[in-house]
């Protein structure tokens, strides 16, 4: 399978792509069915997601709770904005660490290709002003990339 790509697009977007050897229908289901989400959306080794709510309709609730089984944990809440079965998901999410972070707007597309599915995850970074301020600080090139990547991870 192809590797993950991660790149910025303009000032406010971050795009992740990944190919999967399965139909868009299957990949879409794995992103929306709580039972399936709980099997893979876990982050670092050792973490699990005991609570997963995914109400797949516009305005439907999203809630993921992760735990490391050692007293550590955090959660995410969100809402679905638009769902086009098997091809497109638009949602908003934010994390609680435990303080609430800014809203992250996410569009996920699933496009059929020769080998299966190309997934494209496009995030609109939460706070344009903050990001602009960050980019203007004249930080060293390496740092800038690091922060851009940081943004993308969440």
């Amino acid at each position: 399978m192809s590797k993950l790509t991660l790149k910025t697009e303009g000032d406010t977007h971050l795009v992740v792509t990944r190919r999967f050897a399965a139909s868009p229908e299957a990949v879409y289901r794995a992103h929306t069915d709580p039972k399936l989400i709980q099997k893979w959306l876990l982050g670092p080794e050792g973490w699990t997601m005991p609570v997963c709510i995914s109400e797949t309709k516009p305005g439907g609730k999203i809630r993921y709770e992760w735990t490391n089984g050692k007293g550590g944990g955090f959660h995410l809440t969100g809402e679905y904005v638009e769902l086009v079965p098997h091809s497109r998901i638009v949602h908003v999410e934010r994390m609680f660490l435990p303080d609430r972070t800014a809203d992250n707007h996410v569009e996920t597309r699933f496009d059929a290709d020769e080998t299966g599915t190309l997934m494209t995850l496009r995030m609109t970074l939460p706070d344009e002003q903050t990001r602009r301020a960050m980019l203007k600080t004249g930080m060293e090139r390496g740092m800038e990339e690091s922060y851009a990547r940081l943004e993308g991870m969440l």
Partner: protein, 117 residues
């Protein structure tokens, strides 16, 4: 060993956009809470709370100067961030590797008429 930064601490400290912005500001040089709070629509206590998380994670250090406590980026901060980033990138890759496995075990979805999902 306090030189060892807890990854869990770093993880939650850096996952917040405001905290990352604070670190970016501190990368420019030392700053007081008031200076740090200025660009944000946040109160100083709120900023102080973010700073505490960053200090607990070993990413930011402070010193006392009269009645203020200027903060600066800890030497370990940037390094820890890079480690954290690498860890997160790996985590994301691991997520999708796991998804590969999930997909491999999924049967071809049934084409039920009127299925909403």
């Amino acid at each position: 060993m306090n030189a060892t930064v807890s990854l869990d601490f770093v993880f939650s400290a850096l996952a917040d956009p405001t905290r990352r912005a604070i670190l970016t500001r501190l990368a420019k040089g030392e700053a007081t809470v008031m200076e740090l709070a200025a660009p944000f629509k946040m109160t100083q206590p709120a900023i102080s709370q973010h700073l505490k998380a960053l200090e607990d994670a070993g990413l930011v250090v402070s010193r006392v100067e009269g009645t203020t406590r200027p903060r600066r980026l800890a030497k370990a901060g940037v390094e820890a961030m890079d480690q954290w980033l690498a860890m997160l990138r790996k985590a994301l890759e691991r997520n999708y590797d796991r998804l590969d496995e999930v997909l491999a075990t999924m049967e071809q979805p049934k084409k039920k008429k009127g299925e909403k999902q």
